[in-house]
Amino acid sequence: MATETSTRSVVPQGTLYRGREGMWSWVAHRITGLLIFVFLLVHVLDTSLVRVAPEAYNAVIETYKNPVVGLGEAGLVGAVLFHAFNGIRVMLVDFWSQGPRFHRQMLWAVGALWVLLMVPFLVRHLSNVFGG
């Protein structure tokens, strides 16, 4: 039997998934999801103060009204919007017959939609946070 001479490079050629849109959107979906879950626990706890006393709730909400928390809130809304739109993309990949074919284009659509909503939100929110 003739020995085959391999002409293939020893350098890995990459895959369809690893290091590309599929993997990074999955990573971002996990990180934003975990972040939102942790926030949700705190959010239900602090909102529960409305059952203690109006003043207790107002006192805690007042401590949130500073630029540091304000920027955190902007990041949180950014995380929620990405997770929401990328979640719709995941559903389309899973349930729409053409979904897997257009998953990359759909990620760009997620990004476009995200920018489209984040710009008016940031104008509104940051003028509240920094406008006093």
């Binding site: 999801g33 975990l34 626990l41 909102t47 529960s48 409305v50 109006p54 003043e55 929620v80 995941v90």
Partner: protein, 153 residues
């Protein structure tokens, strides 16, 4: 001389039907998509009403919450959001724990913590929504400080 006998390859008939294991993970997968679709509407609506309309985040105080929960519409909205988001989130964190925690004991402890947080938060939030009093009074019968203006008018 007796003919050599071959045993039947399988003592029981080959079963073509799926195994009888539970479909728990399939339902979990399906739940993430169904609840996710509903949550997109609930959460984005929540953010829009609380952060974009009116005074935005500067307008948030007890009176704002009381004004919303005076209406059954927002009570149902927030209740659905609480339950769906907490189960969706806990199930997502369960998946992350299963992926990264390698020791059995680590997984058991972490998932127990998530379950405790889930039950505690959902029960607390549900109680708060259903027992909320928009115009609470103190022991002297007077309205507490910070009640919304519609209580006194």
């Amino acid at each position: 001389m007796a003919a050599p006998s071959l045993e039947a390859p399988r003592s029981t008939p080959y079963r073509r039907s799926a195994s009888r294991r539970s479909n728990y993970e399939m339902y979990s997968w399906l739940f993430m998509r169904l609840s996710g679709a509903v949550l997109v509407v609930l959460v984005i609506g929540h953010l829009f009403v609380n952060l974009m309309v009116g005074d935005g985040i500067s307008g948030l105080d007890f009176g704002f919450v009381a004004g919303k929960w005076a209406s059954p519409f927002w009570q149902v909205w927030d209740l659905a959001m609480l339950w769906l988001a907490m189960i969706h989130g806990s199930n997502g964190v369960r998946t992350i724990i299963n992926d990264y925690a390698q020791r059995d004991m680590t997984r058991i402890v972490l998932k127990t913590l998530v379950l405790v947080a889930l039950v505690f938060t959902v029960v607390l939030g549900t109680l708060v929504i259903f027992t909320f009093e928009p115009c609470p009074v103190g022991p002297d019968g007077a309205f507490l400080e910070g009640v919304p203006s519609f209580c006194t008018s």
